[in-house]
Symmetry: C2
Subunit: 333 residues, 2 copies
């Protein structure tokens, strides 16, 4: 059982990515890691991260790197020797590879997974499905979160089915489900998706407002990738902004500094609770193998988490369950 | 110079709405208030809010109320004797009325303003343009924020022109401008709008990410009303959630309670800084008179602020400036 990792994807590559791989291998047994990237440099860097059993590491040489600025389709087509493309090809062709992790360009990872690994039969468009922490301490799946723009209603229905299967398999959540929209009225797409979702066997609870995304009242939230991205980024921006405002207030006088130090652990609790990247990345649901897109700013902890996501999703038969949970796919098309 | 107020719109109507009207009249001179609603009840309630000069108040009787649950177009058409419709008709027909304020159903206020007051010539779709506080202490105009879904690219261009005129007139902001989108790629609509915006005389700085909305780096942010609503509600949800998490942490022990009380003023500073409703409501730009949509949960302070927004926008010739700033309207269509 092997997990492929794109060693040169992400802002902190290759150091933090390698450190994350080694962390995962140190903590857990039962899987090997395939490292895709510049083999000589990887070998040198590995000297800084000793592990017991180097036979658990396989290196696939790849001399090129795809940057965030490149047009995804062009990069995937032209940079055949990039760490990402080599990782994708390896994941596809080696039957022992259960999935892969990349913190590289979101567009390139998703396009690459679509083109190189391929879709599950019947799925029109795979979707990115991060799991967000809710204020009640639970989780909510937001699908799609940026892979697909200008979606059609039947695509939203497939997102709902995949999100539901994912939540059931990985989060032990029963299928409470909603369609992300501003209010009862929504737009043309939500109207159409609403009607289609009502016809499924899903526990579709209707429309909801973006304000409620992290309320904990919804388990799976379905939306066009463009909206999902706006929602996710707005939430992220609000948290970062508020945290920086709090910091500024705390630093404003001696009294507030003292109070701030008394609350340090509590602020940390909150930051950790709301950090949706700490336990790994977002699965790209609907492709034939497990693909985890880690945040571009991922450090070792998050990469380690992403690798373990791949392992756990495999152990829980995510791909099989996804396929089984899509009986209505043909009808929905 | 009169400002019309829908006394029966909003969660806290009629008490807080009347209190807000009286506050505004106590604090500022030079305008009168037209109160639309149940005249007998208004007269009774006014006894609780004494002012020097009752001749500044004109009451337009309206016995019906439009609720949030009603379909806007139907409600506007059928409830001719509702406080909202009476307020709209008065605003339209009385040349001394410079504008109006309502905290009622957003859909009904916007639909009503569109149908009853009418658009500025050349404007396809008026748009809701709240001013958001930024973490740098400045302001950002988010247009459209829920009035129009399924927008066309030329509508976004008009939003940009209106948002720009508004920012210049009311906020002394130079026309730095952007098109709300997830990233460089965006969707079909942002592609098309991008091309059109580049052709205008506006200082269009290109696309931006939702994460940056309140960063203070953008003055006018243009988007489809559906996305704008998602962004606004996500921001709101994130702030409310984070504030409730902080509250829970502060209440968790004696030590944290003490620290919390030491930071009470600071938390209040932040809450006030980020409260985009405290100074009034959101203007509905593109109709022939000034229309302010106050938040449904508005209390007296916010209603008072909304009334003063109408007065100040009138003094600053907002409608005239909006008309002057739309030279490209015909071409854009």
């Amino acid at each position: 059982m092997k997990v492929v990792v794109d060693i040169y994807g992400g802002d902190n590559a290759p150091h933090e990515i390698i450190a994350g791989c080694v962390d995962a291998m140190r903590k857990y047994k039962g899987f090997d890691i395939v490292m895709a990237g510049k083999s000589e440099q990887i070998k040198t860097l590995l000297k800084d991260y000793p592990i017991d059993d180097y036979s658990r590491i396989e290196i696939c040489d790849a001399q090129e790197v795809i940057s965030n600025d490149e047009v995804p389709t062009t990069a995937i087509r032209n940079k055949k020797n990039s760490s990402l493309v080599v990782a994708l090809e390896k994941t596809k062709s080696d039957k022992d590879c259960i999935g892969m992790v990349s913190a590289g360009s979101t567009g390139a990872v998703l396009t690459g997974a679509f083109l190189k690994i391929g879709r599950i039969k019947g799925i029109q468009r795979p979707a990115l499905a991060p799991v967000l922490p809710t204020i009640k301490g639970g989780s909510a799946v937001l699908i799609d979160c940026g892979a697909n723009v200008d979606c059609k209603a039947n695509m939203l229905v497939q997102f709902a089915l995949m999100g539901n299967a994912y939540a059931k398999t990985m989060l032990n959540i029963e299928n409470l489900l909603s369609n992300g929209t501003e209010d009862k009225k929504g737009n043309e797409l939500t109207h159409e998706a609403f009607t289609l979702l009502k016809q499924t066997d899903l526990n579709f609870v209707g429309n909801m407002e973006a304000r409620e995304i992290i309320s904990g009242d919804y388990d799976v939230i379905v939306c066009d990738g463009f909206w999902g991205n706006i929602a996710l980024k707005s939430l992220e921006g609000a948290f970062l902004s508020l945290m920086s405002l709090i910091k500024a207030e705390v630093m404003s006088s001696l009294k507030t500094k003292i109070a701030g130090s008394m609350l340090k652990k509590n602020f940390k609790n909150i930051a950790q609770k709301m950090d949706y990247n700490k336990n790994g990345g977002a699965p790209f649901l609907g492709v034939e193998k497990i693909v985890i897109k880690s945040h571009g700013s991922s450090r070792a902890e998050s990469i380690c988490g992403s690798i373990m996501q791949v392992v756990n999703m495999h152990k829980n038969n995510l791909i099989v369950n996804l396929k089984n949970e899509l009986p209505n796919t043909e009808q929905a098309e």
